[in-house]
Symmetry: D2
């Protein structure tokens, strides 16, 4: 059994990690830590859905204890904390999967430009692997430090990578218009998130200025060896969870929808969690909720030479905790799907 510790257990990422791992046949959750305001509370008091399932207390973070008692530690923490916790955890022999951005960028300057944080562990970056198993599984298997991708980048990169890889589009340029549920903002008392503000509403935000944009661009370039320009338009819609990315681009040259579907199926033939819809099918967001799938559907507007890619994920699963467990499976040489189907 893999002994797991979760730091940041009381946020939505922590909760979803617990939910998934309770059904994982090779895992035992042994330690939880959370913000000091929760110290001493049992997790089933914070989330009564866990009553009779798990009753561990929320501890203060003690890296040495976690490193000693855990084989792997999930850092379901805000940006900037992994820099602080990871060194001692790794030094103590635990593998680390970070949910935040601390180890996603190979270039420290890019990180510091978009996050208001001084990166104190640049040396760890050479070991860190961007945890997108569809493209980096081999490297994930060999590292002890995985940077779990952002939720929007997961949806957009998986949906757009074949366009870049196969040089299908003009100017290597996509528009990514992404609708997201409110859980993406975390479990925080924020005014725009209260139901009277958000119900019956749609709120575009950080248009063309969201910090997931440089992540998307960097990752697309890294995995497709192509230049990549992304105009990213996030919009908050009144649902709890899920992201549907509508990616549009102009085709460099004509292609049939069937051929396009074939290209996608080819690229993802070994990816158990990417499902490509048949030509003519459209997705609904709901079909991925609660699961680790990324469902991709394709359409063409021949009149305007536009390719339209829909990429749907559950932001808390494939966009967060599920992908982290998928990475853990790879790091421990288990089938990717263990505990995730």
């Amino acid at each position: 059994m893999i002994k797991v510790g979760i730091i940041g257990a009381t946020g939505y990422g922590g909760r979803e990690t617990i939910r998934i791992l309770l059904g994982h046949p090779q895992v035992r959750i042994v330690l939880l830590a959370a913000d000091p305001s929760f110290t001493g509370q049992r997790i089933d008091q914070v989330y009564p859905e866990f009553r009779s399932r798990i009753d561990l207390p929320c501890l203060d973070v003690d890296e040495a204890k976690f490193a000693k008692e855990c084989d792997v530690v999930f850092l379901a923490t805000p940006d900037g904390l992994a820099i602080k916790f990871a060194p001692a955890l790794l030094a103590g022999g635990a593998k680390v999967i970070d949910y935040a951005a601390d180890f996603r960028f190979q270039d420290v300057k890019l990180y510091e430009q978009h996050y208001p944080i001084k990166h104190t562990q640049p040396d760890l970056l050479k070991d860190a692997v961007y945890g997108l198993p569809e493209f980096n599984a081999h490297r994930i298997a060999q590292t002890s430090l995985v940077a779990n991708p952002g939720c929007f980048p997961t949806a957009v990169v998986l949906g757009a990578a074949p366009l870049f890889k196969n040089a299908l589009i003009e100017d290597n340029f996509i528009i990514a218009n992404c609708l997201t549920g409110a859980s993406g903002a975390g479990r925080k008392a924020l005014l725009p998130m209260i139901l009277p503000e958000l119900a019956a509403n749609v709120q575009p935000y950080k248009v063309a200025s969201h910090r997931h944009q440089p992540e998307m661009a960097e990752v697309l370039q890294a995995i497709t060896s192509s230049a990549a320009s992304v105009c990213f338009i996030p919009q908050l819609i009144p649902v709890e969870r899920g992201i549907i990315a509508t990616i549009t681009a102009r085709l460099a040259k004509p292609i049939s929808l069937e051929d396009l579907v074939d290209i996608y199926n080819g690229i993802y033939s070994q990816a158990p969690f990417v499902r490509i819809g048949a030509a003519g099918e459209l997705p609904e967001l709901k079909q991925v909720l609660g699961s680790n799938f990324c469902d991709i559907n394709l359409a063409l507007d021949n009149e305007s030479r536009t390719v339209i890619v829909f990429s749907c994920i559950d932001n808390l699963v494939k966009g967060l905790a599920g992908q982290a467990v998928q990475n853990m499976n790879i790091m421990f040489d288990l089938p990717q799907t263990t505990g995730l189907l």
Copy 2:
């Protein structure tokens, strides 16, 4: 034209008051005040729905200025502030309508028992009138200080008063199971109100301990001259607005549904905002949203001698700003419905 000032303009009560008064043919809004964090902001910056309609700035509270420039001031403020603002406003010649509980209880002790506030203006209580026009219109017309009722008491008192008035039920006892939308908690960043917590959820709260319970009991006794015992069960449901009260009681003696409907129609024959459903009709909450109506529907379970009363209001209109405007109309000798239909 009636010159109106609104203190607490940026909360949901203030916003709804502005929305209604913008359509009132006899009113001009002349002054707004709000929490100091809004000072200097225009109301149409806080609520962009008001752009091109009203662009008054949010001022700090200045009772003398409001008393001088306004005929009536709406105190859309939290409990405890009317005690502070009302004396100078009244002394300066303005009429006052308070949205909070400060002047609802004739008995200062009852107020201080349920609200953590020292009541410093007990002398004003003899002038204050509980602003439920269906029972107190005559006294509202003659006062300068109206205590606008709580949202739950409005729904429950209007729904249950005929049962007490006509001695129809056993033990003068009702159970009031009330579902409410989230706007009832005000425009505040509260964790249980964020959409990921509340969507797809129902949250009972303050069961048999909510401070609207003593208000219901006192008012029912005052207006029906009957003892009144109320078991009050509030539940938060995932909607923005609206209250549906399900009031149940055991009948003291058999009565037909038709006779019951007749009794209700009789009691509310002069009330333009109370609509009694025909025998056999059931309500839906939606039919009152956005309006000042209180819709009441009746049902009987003959087998168990239970009478079931559904009473629906929009908590922000008949339960708050609409009722306040109805009271204002009465205080200024206008038809009750002016600006409200």
Copy 3:
């Protein structure tokens, strides 16, 4: 492995059964049948969430084939079809779990009074067991024909049974005010269920005339050996799934909340899916969604001698497919929780 067939696979009950059974370690789904309009479609075409998980086609009902190839057949079908399908299935050696009301009433007359169907298989009733494992596990283990309970009766009976069993309440009378999500009406294009009608709405319906009322009363009497009178008030709220029953009654004599909680804990000490909240805790509906738990919380209004019981279930799981799988586990001598945690 238990070979399972599902008739009525394309409704919400069928879908949820498939979802649960895909995670059940002892089960293989071998046959699906559905309404003829689906004949030949694969289930993952009807529900794309199942793509890459299960791709069985929807067949026409062929009782002989199902009896031959399946160990157990789930009849996720409307009222009246189990009467038609069960005899041949049972005769062919398959166990049967019916989701509808056909075998819930021991008295054919009660069934025919509340359902517009002629009961053609009264002889099967003596073998049928009402599938509420918390009270009937022993008999469920010995039968081949389980009548899966209605969703509302599951929530109300589990929540109220201790009150009757221990003679705690006046007149053996409860009011059950039950809020339900829209999936309870099944996957049907009904006007009151479309989002523009139901969003932001609450709709009481069949007040004191719903056919789950006699089921509740009969079952409460059967399992508690007490008379039982129920006033049942169902209300539709704008959520997809879940039932929260608020059960109220007047106490026959005073009892402390702690003693009441103890009584409930005692009665359900062997029930793995019933969780009793501690004194002072209130539930939220969300804590049971997606799971087979029935969460019960208790409150007292001492002033009015009222006991308030909240009983929460997911109507599609503990109220339908999960309970059916729990019954199947018992029928096949597996731990009740297999595949359900």
Copy 4:
């Protein structure tokens, strides 16, 4: 007073027209007609929100009677019925405002290509005016037959027209990614619209094949004298009402956001229902709900030379009944805003 008749009174367009006209100071609703299934029912029985406000019965359509008793008839009917009803209404002296597509296209062939209907009244097309007051007010004032625009074209044309008029974009090409509430599909019992299907969901549909696309393209060309190519991507989101169009295009040459805002303000300086957000402001859908405003906000992604236009309307108001009343006001020489603020 303008005497108004409404045919199609029981659909969402009819209902919203009634709601608005009940507050219009110059209008009296005199006749209602609806589908024969409603014949004889009073409108306040169909929509209980109207109780005590309007109690007209739903009649069968009788063009002669409507023409005789009404000054103007709103045809809130499905495509194809205006062709049938309009000739006799116009001949009888009534003005006509059609909510469907029958008179929107100057070219009969375009209509017949996108709607499965034989157009039997091509001669009326020369009199019909496309009812977009921001561009056609002068012609609307002089006609008796207004073709009320589609909801998506209203949002997209108002949002995009300045881009074409001022030749700001490459290839005269826009992508219009439009989110819509479910009321856009009308008051029909459709399976994808029931709450269990649509809640928590997003459903793209008719991607690059919706029949509002040719309407957008034709109207943009007509009012801007520019070629216009539109890739239209509609998506259904789980809200009752509202459309937010995200319109993207590549700039032909650089422009500052401030200059862009100035251009929009200039073009809509005389349009009382178009509000342009200041540079840096983003919209929320909610700010237009229930009102006749079209709110437009602008953003630039300088890195990719992309202009992003958000255009928000209430699909039932500016996208339907409100725009129809605005057109009526113009046809009867009233200020455009009468009864709409």
